[in-house]
Amino acid sequence: MVVTDKDVMAHIGEYPLLQQDDESLFHGKRLIFLSWENHLMFAAPLCVPLPPTLPFGALIRDVLPELYGEHPEFEDIDWKRTLWFNSSKRFIPDVGKSLEHHGLSHKSLIRFRTPALEGMRKKTSDGRQAF
């Protein structure tokens, strides 16, 4: 790759390229970021190292409960109606196929929306927002 001078505004002497979180550094795994949209009981999206070969079904079955199971709405999620996004691009997962197959490369962001369960966008019985 050609690194141009434009990539650093100004420098004096050598300026080496050092990508601190290259995929090769994660012991065969890659980082995947996850965000359950509007569910801000989880203050920030989460980050987990996963094997690229992990089937999407295993992500739903084994990984997500570890991440989001504490939320009172989690049990009610209808996975068939869930909408999935690779960053902002919608995709329809094939539960038998791997993360790799879905184009989920290192440091991809998976956002998922659960239409009936809107977390913070829903009002509770006393008229306040949920979380």
Partner: protein
């Protein structure tokens, strides 16, 4: 030939000239450009260094004299404070956690500032600027020292302060201030002064020091108050250096204006993101509150800062790009940050808690448009949960961080507090994520700099933050526990919920505030 008459004593002005600019000379063995290479590579054009107005006509000998007097007073107060068990006179042991945040996250910045100013104090061609930077370098080192001494008394009695230097280099939330300063002092000397002297010390400093120092005053912490007074006269000198440097650059060459404007955009935003920690401290960690973060922002940023940028308009300078978004954030960021620390309270080095009913009501009054609507429900849920069978909830999964500011991605879209803000870019085939347009833009301008970011979450998953006996590829059933061990944090003692803390128990027992009902706890 006339006999030379030496005056016994120089006048103030002459002495100043002799002790600063008089020490400067034009080099002859080597060209000046080679002796001072750092003050040209950033693209800032200086035509006449003599136009530099020395902000404070202070010479080194006078400096030693003033500082020695101030320090004598400060150490007398610290000593008295210790003799009188001042550590028990504070409002509530929860307050001590604000001091932990200070010694962990602010004091190390004083040392970084010392290094940055020592560098600038060597590298400017102009002697006036060099002397001012050198003096500030000494100030910063003193501040590091006096803050450490003032807080060391608390360290004898409370947890969470004993390992601050190691934590600063490793902990996830401390990488926020650390990376801020590393970004600043790895820039050139002009960018460093714009970042630290102007954006941080001139525009934002009141938002850092007022909450901590007034917070100390309101909560009975005399030693921190005295430190604050002692540092105050230094700070006003530092602020003057900041504004002088900006005006000097802007007046020297019109080509400097866009460079300075871009630095202001960048460093206002970097500073603002860093202040998220202070916002949280101010709204949640002071048992006796001074004012809300929102009120502080309105007073110190919106009105004072607004007037400053009106004044700079004659140079062609406008408000920093992130200004509007920062103003909108005043209703949100303290609550978003506390929710983050509450759920990662097992991975920090201070205690967290759910505010009392009164305090929740106070927050609702101060934030009438956001607190009850968006932030109170989850706090009440967590409180109920902690009292139930499940117990207190801790988030066991590490958060996603912004590549630039390194804050967990907790900030929401402008105009929609239900939606986390995501920004993304590609560089050399890799994805990079950001919390905001401004952090993304900072990265895109100098990607080669920010791909080096030492992001704590990424480092943990690479296996760089485990004790030696742990295999990084398979760290066992609780990687977070192992990381905490590596950090040198005593789980449950240095962190966790305040309700169950040693700090709380000790404070009550030692200060005689133990009620009979507490003995059964």
């Amino acid at each position: 030939m006339d006999t030379r008459v030496t005056k016994k004593k120089l006048g103030l002005k002459e002495r100043y000239a002799a002790m600063t600019r008089g020490l400067h000379w034009e080099t002859t063995y080597q060209p000046m450009d080679k002796v001072f290479p750092y003050d040209s590579y950033e693209g800032i054009k200086i035509h006449d260094w003599d136009k530099w107005e020395d902000p404070f006509r202070l010479t080194m000998d006078a400096y030693w004299k003033y500082q020695a007097e101030k320090e004598k007073k400060l150490y007398a107060v610290i000593e008295t404070f210790a003799q009188n068990h001042g550590e028990l006179g504070v409002t509530d042991a929860r307050y001590i956690n604000a001091l932990k945040l200070f010694i962990q996250g602010v004091t190390p910045l004083e040392y970084y500032a010392h290094r940055g100013f020592a560098h600038a104090g060597r590298q400017f061609t102009g002697a006036g600027a060099r002397v001012a930077a050198q003096m500030q370098a000494v100030d910063e080192l003193r501040h590091f020292q006096t803050e450490t001494h003032a807080i060391s008394h608390y360290n004898k009695h409370y947890n969470g302060m004993h390992n601050a230097n190691h934590w600063f280099d490793n902990l996830w939330y401390l990488s926020v201030p650390k990376s801020f300063f590393e970004d600043a002092y790895s820039g050139g000397p002009f960018e460093f002064l714009t970042a630290v002297s102007f954006s941080f010390e001139y525009v934002l400093t009141n938002l850092l020091f007022v909450p901590f120092m007034s917070g100390a005053a309101h909560n009975g912490d005399l030693s921190t108050v005295t430190f604050g007074f002692s540092a105050q006269s230094d700070e006003s000198r530092h602020m003057t250096l900041g504004i002088e440097c900006i005006k000097f650059m802007l007046e020297q060459d019109p080509a400097n204006v866009p460079i300075v404007q871009r630095w202001m955009d960048k460093w206002f935003w970097r500073g603002y993101r860093l202040l998220t920690l202070v916002a949280m401290m101010q709204d949640y960690m002071l048992p006796k509150r001074v004012m809300s973060w929102k009120e502080a922002w309105e007073m110190y940023a919106e009105s004072n800062g607004g007037a400053l940028f009106d004044d700079l308009a004659r140079y062609g300078i406008r408000k920093p790009k992130g200004w509007e978004q920062a103003c909108e954030g005043k209703d949100h960021i303290s609550h978003q940050a506390w929710a983050t620390f509450y759920q990662y309270g097992h991975a920090a080095a201070f205690h967290t808690w759910i505010p009392s009913e009164d305090e929740l009501d106070w927050l609702a009054t101060k934030y009438p448009n956001t607190f009850n609507q968006y932030y109170r429900p989850r706090l009440e849920h967590w409180l109920a949960q902690s009292k139930g069978d499940e117990g207190r909830w801790y988030n066991q999964i590490l958060p996603m961080l912004c590549q630039t500011c390194q804050v967990p991605m907790l900030f929401t879209e402008p105009g929609d507090p239900t939606q986390i803000a995501f920004r993304e870019t590609n560089y050399l085939g890799q994805k990079y994520h950001f919390c905001s347009d401004h952090c993304c833009e900072i990265f895109e301008h100098e990607p080669k700099k920010y791909v080096q970011a030492w992001l704590p979450v990424q480092q943990i998953y690479q296996g760089n933050c485990y004790p030696e006996d742990i295999n990084p590829a398979s760290p066992g059933d609780s990687p977070v526990r192992e990381v905490i061990r590596y950090y040198g944090i005593e789980g449950g003692e240095d962190n966790g919920d305040f309700a169950n803390s040693e700090d709380r128990q000790h404070f009550k027992a030692w200060s005689g505030r133990m009620k009979p009902s507490d003995l059964g706890e």
